[in-house]
């Protein structure tokens, strides 16, 4: 074992010698410096393996050989080993990254760099208060120097502000230390803890001074303008260190020193942390400068960590997992992002589209962003999960709320940024200059996130575990991205089929029903991918990610597994959606709603965990307190995915602008994930026994109104895919309504609708998508008369809309019939009326859809257009088969479903007669007979007409009674443009997008708030000094007073 003090000795010794070594040249000097850092890293790693993994007891170093408190002692325990490793590792990587800078600026910068890490190591290890002060000063001064690696004016001003701020902070710290010495008679931290100085007022103030100084070093909002300027002004490589190494070390110092207050002020620090977390993330949403934005994010993350430290008493033995998880994610991701900023050298986040010139860098960027927000499989995901669970278990719901609010605000700007990088034009931007010494640390940071996430999983998930095989496969596909799309399509479909083969047999009732939609639907929609040529870079990993998430939802047993799968699915679908041509806004709002919904769900799971003490999904069934809250929160979470009214504004754009084969995936399949969640929730709430819960009444109304408003909005769309998207919202409203009825028949209706919507919406989106791909327009007024050119598409759409409209004999009617029976049985007459009304409104948009695309006059430029790709028709017709079977023999499908749900809803099930007639409490219906009768009448009439008309002459379209005039200017002259103008005049007000307005208002409100608050950061170092003092005084007056 190498003495920990050698970390200090080697670092300092080399630093002192560097000046001499430099005589031999800069390369040797730089090499020696890196060697020193590597040595320091090795020593700390060695202690980590000894203390953390081998479980040895902490090691103490007594300098000069005397026991503390007489001399300074260093400690190398579990946490110290961890933090020194963090610090030294980033030092090594950062040193490689800055290699060329050091060369340019000379040996002195290397000295300063090395000394920074010496300082931080001692800060972590020391057990002596004054020693802490000295080495903290070393670190601060070193940072002041490193800022100057960037010889720009902004760096100099930033450095000066930092110097002023740290000058004040260290002064306060020193005053605190000397008074602690006065009262405690020792500088040894353990002595001070034992002395319990808070008993004396002076001692309490002294401790306050020390702790507040440490808190100030952690850049608390709002006294942190200097820190933000530093992040912005410094060289990115240096900012990465400040954010990763310095801040990590300081968090540990706070943790180390907090016991001297003897358990007081934990709440105060948690509050300060929360204020920082929420405040700085709020200000981040208005920021466009990349490094400053990262600064806001850093400050926010550190605020969260301070919160965690302050809330340690809630977290019990999970504290380590939570703190390390959050810290490591922040550390790697933030360092990676700052380093990326250095590679790009783009000031504005808009220009980060430049990353698209190097897709692997873009993937790394995405990794960092997702890791920061706390998506799986990164450590922060598990940490956040545990944090929320433990806080909830301790009834710290206010903290939960603050954490989620802050996280959401953070997601707001991080995903805006990611969206810019993914979508904005990059043609005008310069190529990226790849320097390997800069890329390697970034890659390592990215890989580290994955590896650590994988390693964290067993700790977080316990015995249940998480299946990483699909993720491994996705990574493989990512590296196979150079293959042609068709090859990948085959591989991916085979993988999906195999995955289905693996999991489907093990699923029961409800889960099996959804597995049909997710897996088989997935395979069918993937078939359409054969229509694409080229490579379709990035498509397959994303699609697989979504399907892997969906698949894992099905097999999830614990809440964690469920949430993991849910978030996985969100990532995949986000990337899929944002791939669309004009999807930047829509992908963004999709993500924000998803994140918001997921956080509500997380809070709900937290309440469930707190109320039941269980980690299984069954926890929801066993909540002893606040059960209603858990249900409401989780339900809202799912309802963001099902796009229930109020939470729907993301959907139309997202689904409409997505690629042609993505729309059916996200609309027909992905939305069902929300339905699946609701179904599970309702089951666990007790099924029939819970049907009296007021939540369901509200949900029923919500579903009905969603259906009405969405259908009405669909009527007024000019864009075919947008029309279908609104239609989906409406259909999901029906589904919500049906499940909320919470009776046997109601659930049958819900499942019927779910399956039906899956089938006909997939058909419609596939066909319309295929047409859009052919015609290169979404707008219906630019189409028309395509029946002649695309007869197969027409038939598919016709069957689709007949089914959607619920006309007998097709399967849509089954849903309607069940609806009526269930609704009236339940006594939901008004809701039923609204649902019926929206059902008829559906006719309007369906007619508009089929008429505007296929009927009427063919456009001149479409005279030679070909039928859509068979790869869109094949899945569509497969699904038509499904509809036909369902229509002809509804009992085949409804009876098993009925059996499956009888365990949850035993009363008044549907009775089935031998001839296939279904009998409910009110009515009866025989799908097969209706099918036979209607088809019989249809065939007879058709035959009769053919008989009468056998000599009918085929004529050109314009051979008509009315002298044909062909309006050629699109839009206004097209007959289908604004076709329901009169209807709009009459009741169009119902479809006013006031909900979008409301969300816009909320968004603007936050933005304006950010603009107002950030005015305090006026850029004046003196003002920042004043902020620091005021902050101290205010916190002092609040906590101690007088």
């Amino acid at each position: 074992m190498v003495e920990p003090v050698y970390i200090v000795a080697s670092g300092l010794g080399i630093a002192f010698l560097l000046g001499l070594i430099n005589k031999a040249g800069k390369n040797p000097a730089g090499g020696v410096m890196l060697l020193a850092l590597a040595f320091m890293t090795l020593v700390s790693l060695q202690w980590m393996s000894s203390v953390v993994f081998a479980g040895n007891s902490p090691h103490y170093t007594f300098t000069a050989g005397f026991q503390p408190p007489f001399s300074i002692s260093l400690m190398m325990g579990e946490k110290e080993a961890f933090f020194t490793t963090l610090v030294n590792l980033i030092g090594l990587l950062g040193g490689i990254y800055l290699w060329e800078r050091f060369h340019k600026q000379g040996v002195n910068t290397m000295i300063v760099y090395l000394l920074l890490f010496v300082g931080l190591n001692v800060v972590v290890m020391t057990r002596d208060l004054f020693n802490l002060f000295v080495f903290l000063e070393i670190s601060s001064v070193a940072i002041t120097g490193l800022v100057l690696l960037q010889r720009e004016h902004k760096a100099i001003t930033a450095g000066f502000k930092y110097l002023v701020a740290t000058g004040i902070i260290s002064g306060i710290l020193l005053i605190g230390i000397i008074f602690i010495y006065q009262y405690g008679g020792s500088l040894y931290i353990d002595d001070i803890i034992a002395a319990n100085l808070t008993a004396v007022k002076g001692g309490m103030v002294a401790i306050f001074l020390v702790l507040i100084a440490i808190a100030l070093e952690l850049k608390p909002f709002p006294a942190n303008g200097w820190a933000l300027d530093l992040y912005q002004g410094a060289h990115p490589g240096v900012a990465a260190l400040v954010s990763g190494a310095f801040a990590s070390a300081m968090v540990f110092v706070l943790y180390k020193l907090l016991p001297i207050a003897g358990g007081q002020w934990q709440t105060m620090f948690a509050t300060l942390g929360a204020l920082t977390f929420v405040g700085s993330n709020l200000l981040g949403i208005k920021q466009n400068q990349s490094q400053r934005l990262l600064g806001y994010s850093s400050v926010g993350q550190i605020g969260l960590l301070v919160m965690v430290v302050g809330l340690a008493q809630f977290l019990g033995d999970r504290l380590t997992l939570i703190a390390y998880g959050l810290l490591i994610s922040h550390y790697l991701a933030k360092a990676g992002l700052f380093w990326l900023a250095g590679v790009l050298d783009q000031d504005q986040i808009r220009n980060w589209a430049q990353l698209r010139k190097k897709p692997h860098l873009l993937a790394l960027f995405g990794t960092f962003i997702f890791a920061l927000v706390g998506f799986p499989p990164f450590p922060s995901f598990f940490a956040k999960w545990e944090l929320i669970m433990q806080l909830s278990a301790g009834s710290g719901y206010v903290w939960v709320g603050l954490i989620l609010l802050g996280s959401l605000l953070e997601a707001v700007y991080l995903f805006r940024w990611l969206g810019y990088a993914l979508k904005l034009d990059h043609q005008q931007l310069p190529a990226i200059n790849i320097q390997w010494h800069k890329i390697i640390p970034i890659v390592l940071a990215g890989v580290g996130l994955f590896v650590l996430g994988y390693l964290a999983t067993p700790i977080a998930s316990g015995t249940a575990g998480i299946n990483f095989i699909p993720l491994a496969f996705i990574i493989l596909i990512y590296f196979l991205d150079v293959l042609p799309a068709r090859v990948k399509n085959i591989v991916v479909i085979a993988a999906m089929a195999y995955y289905g083969y693996l999991i489907m047999p093990g699923l029961e009732d409800v889960r099996f029903i959804f597995s049909v939609i997710f897996i088989i639907g997935g395979i069918l929609t993937l078939l359409a991918g054969f229509a694409y040529k080229g490579r379709r870079k990035g498509f397959y990993p994303a699609a697989l990610l979504m399907y892997a998430g969906l698949g894992q939802l099905l097999t999830a047993e614990t809440m964690l597994q469920f949430f993991f799968a849910w978030e996985l699915m969100t990532i995949g679908s986000y990337i899929l959606i944002i791939r669309g041509k004009n999807s930047i806004r829509h992908g963004y709002s999709y993500m924000l709603f998803s994140v918001g919904g997921a956080y509500l769900m997380l809070a709900g799971f937290g309440v469930a965990y707190a109320g039941s003490g269980m980690a299984d999904l069954a926890a929801i069934a066993n909540i002893t307190q606040l059960a209603g809250w858990a249900a409401v929160l989780i339900a809202i979470g799912f309802m963001t995915k099902t796009a229930t009214l109020g939470l729907h504004i993301w959907l139309p754009g997202a689904h409409a602008e997505a690629e042609s084969d993505v729309s059916p995936m996200v609309s027909a399949i992905l939305l069902k994930a929300g339905v699946f969640g609701l179904v599970l929730l309702f089951i666990h709430m007790g099924g029939e026994a819970a049907s009296g819960h007021p939540l369901f009444y509200v949900l029923g109304w919500l579903g009905a109104i969603t259906a009405l408003v969405a259908n009405l909005s669909a009527v007024f769309q000019e864009d075919a895919k947008r029309l279908l998207a609104y239609s989906s919202i409406g259909q999901l409203g029906y589904i919500l309504f049906a499940f909320a009825i919470m009776t046997h028949v109601g659930w049958l209706a819900g499942f019927t609708y779910t399956l039906n919507h899956f089938m006909y919406k997939a058909i419609l989106f596939l066909i319309v998508g295929g047409i859009v791909l052919r015609l290169r327009t979404h707008y219906m007024y630019e189409m028309g008369g395509l029946i002649k050119r695309m007869p197969y598409s027409f038939i598919a759409v016709l069957i689709g809309i007949v089914a959607l409209a619920g006309m007998p004999p097709l399967s849509g009617f089954a849903g309607k019939w069940l609806f009526y029976n269930a609704g009236i049985e339940k006594g939901w007459y008004f809701q039923g009326g609204v649902i019926f009304f929206s059902g008829i409104i559906a006719f309007l948009y369906l007619y508009r859809l089929i008429h505007s695309i296929f009927l009427g006059q063919l456009k001149d430029r479409h005279r030679r257009v070909k039928e859509i790709s068979p790869w869109f028709l094949i899945p569509a017709y497969t699904l038509i088969m499904g509809i036909m079977v369902f229509s002809a023999k509804p009992g085949w499908i409804l009876q098993p479903i009925g059996q499956a749900i009888t365990q949850y809803f035993p009363s008044s099930p549907l009775r089935w007669q031998a001839d296939g007639t279904a009998i409910g409490e009110l009515g009866y219906w025989n799908g097969s007979q209706v099918m036979v009768i209607v088809m019989g009448v249809f065939i007879l009439i058709t035959l009769w007409l053919i008989l009468l008309n056998r000599k009918a002459k085929k004529v050109e379209q314009f051979n008509i009674v009315y002298a044909g005039e062909r309006p050629e200017r699109p839009e206004t002259t097209h007959i289908s443009y604004n076709i329901y103008a009169g209807y709009n005049k009459a009741i169009g007000f119902l479809a006013t997008p006031w909900i979008s307005g409301l969300w816009q208002w909320i968004a603007d409100g936050f933005r304006d708030l950010a603009v107002q608050i950030r005015r305090i950061y006026n850029g004046n170092g003196q003002t920042y000094a004043l902020h620091l003092l005021t902050y101290v005084v205010v916190v002092y007056l609040i906590t101690i007073g007088g």
């Binding site: 029946i787 007869p791 016709l798 007949v802 409209a805 006309m807 007998p808 009617f813 019939w817 009526y820 009236i824 006594g827 007459y829 008004f830 009326g833 019926f836 009304f837 008829i840 006719f843 309007l844 007619y847 089929i850 008429h851 296929f854 009927l855 009427g856 006059q857 007639t917 009110l922 009515g923 009866y924 219906w925 025989n926 007979q929 209706v930 009768i933 209607v934 009448v937 249809f938 009439i941 058709t942 007409l945 009468l948 009918a952 002459k953 004529v955 379209q957 314009f958 008509i960 009674v961 009315y962 062909r966 309006p967 007959i975 076709i979 329901y980 009169g982 209807y983 009459a986 009741i987």
Partner: protein
């Protein structure tokens, strides 16, 4: 009863309804003309028209959907007949109502609308879409109060089976829904005005403003089918109202009288009121009839 008998009796019922529909159309046109101080058509004119149309040999086609449009349209009308019990107490004239209940009646009607809309669209006539859009717009709001009334009925009689609803109204005129549930009846009757699409709710086929409604492109046997359907539809919709609100019919004469009177209501209103613009009619149905429908529901809560 074997299938063949049932089919034959159903066709017989269909035949009676068709002829009664043609006659009723003639009578109503005659009445309307007299109110307007005109002579009007002869009572057998509809039959002549039909025969003429079906025997017209000059026939053209714009394509499959153009052909299928009238088929769908007629399917709507005939489908209604198929699932509608005509004569209460007569096993022979219950048609195929055992295969589905009131809900199927509500939804099969839409086949007709869809057929008309699609067929007209295929014709390529630029204005047909306007007619269809107006018709559809109006239908949506017409159906709402009617549906509320139907729900009220279903709750009142605790069934969705038409036969059972009729059964419950037997044993005296005061057992009719008209008297047991006047509000629902009023709501339904007001929407009936829109369902029959007579003036003032006939903008979609407005002969004056747009000389070419959806049927313009149809001719010869196509138009014949449309006319056939119109005759059937008028009667069978009246039958529906009769069954739901006016005690049903125990014999064919009673059916004829009741349907005539029900149909007369709408013709009468049409004579009195001028045509509404589309947003006017949409709003109108969302006012008085809708409120009545809501009241009907409130009463059963």
């Amino acid at each position: 009863m074997d299938l063949l008998t049932r089919v034959l009796f159903t066709l017989l019922g269909l035949f009676i309804i068709l002829n009664w529909g043609l006659l009723m159309t003639a009578i109503m046109r005659k009445l309307t003309a007299r109110v307007g101080k005109r002579v009007g058509i002869r009572w057998y004119q509809p039959w002549i028209n039909l025969v003429k149309l079906y025997s017209n040999r000059n026939s053209i086609s714009h394509g499959v959907m153009f052909q299928l449009g009238p088929v769908f349209r007629l399917l709507g009308g005939v489908g209604l007949v198929m699932f509608m019990p005509l004569i209460y107490g007569s096993e022979l004239f219950t048609n195929f109502s055992f295969a589905g209940d009131l809900v199927i009646i509500l939804y099969i009607k839409f086949f007709g609308m869809l057929g008309m809309a699609l067929g007209a669209g295929e014709g390529g006539h630029p204005y047909s879409a306007i007619g269809v859009s107006r018709g559809l717009s109006q239908v949506t709001t017409v159906e709402l109060p009617f549906t509320l009334a139907v729900i009220a009925l279903a709750v009142q009689y605790n069934t969705l089976s038409i036969t059972e609803i009729v059964a419950a109204q037997q044993g005296g005129i005061l057992n009719w829904t008209l008297f047991t549930n006047p509000v629902a009846t009023a709501a339904a009757l007001l929407s009936m005005l829109g369902i029959f699409m007579h003036s003032p709710f006939d903008l979609h086929k407005a002969p004056n403003e747009i000389p070419i409604g959806p049927p313009t492109e149809y001719h010869s046997s196509y138009l014949g089918i449309l006319r056939t359907n119109a005759a059937i539809l008028h009667v069978i919709e009246a039958v529906l109202f009769m069954n739901l609100f006016f005690g049903g019919a125990t014999s064919w004469p009673m059916l004829i009288v009741k349907t005539f009177l029900i149909y007369f209501i709408s013709v009468f209103v049409g004579v009195v009121f001028p045509r509404f613009r589309i947003e006017q009619s949409v709003r109108w149905f969302l006012q008085v009839p809708l409120i009545l429908g809501i009241v009907a529901i409130i009463l059963i809560l």
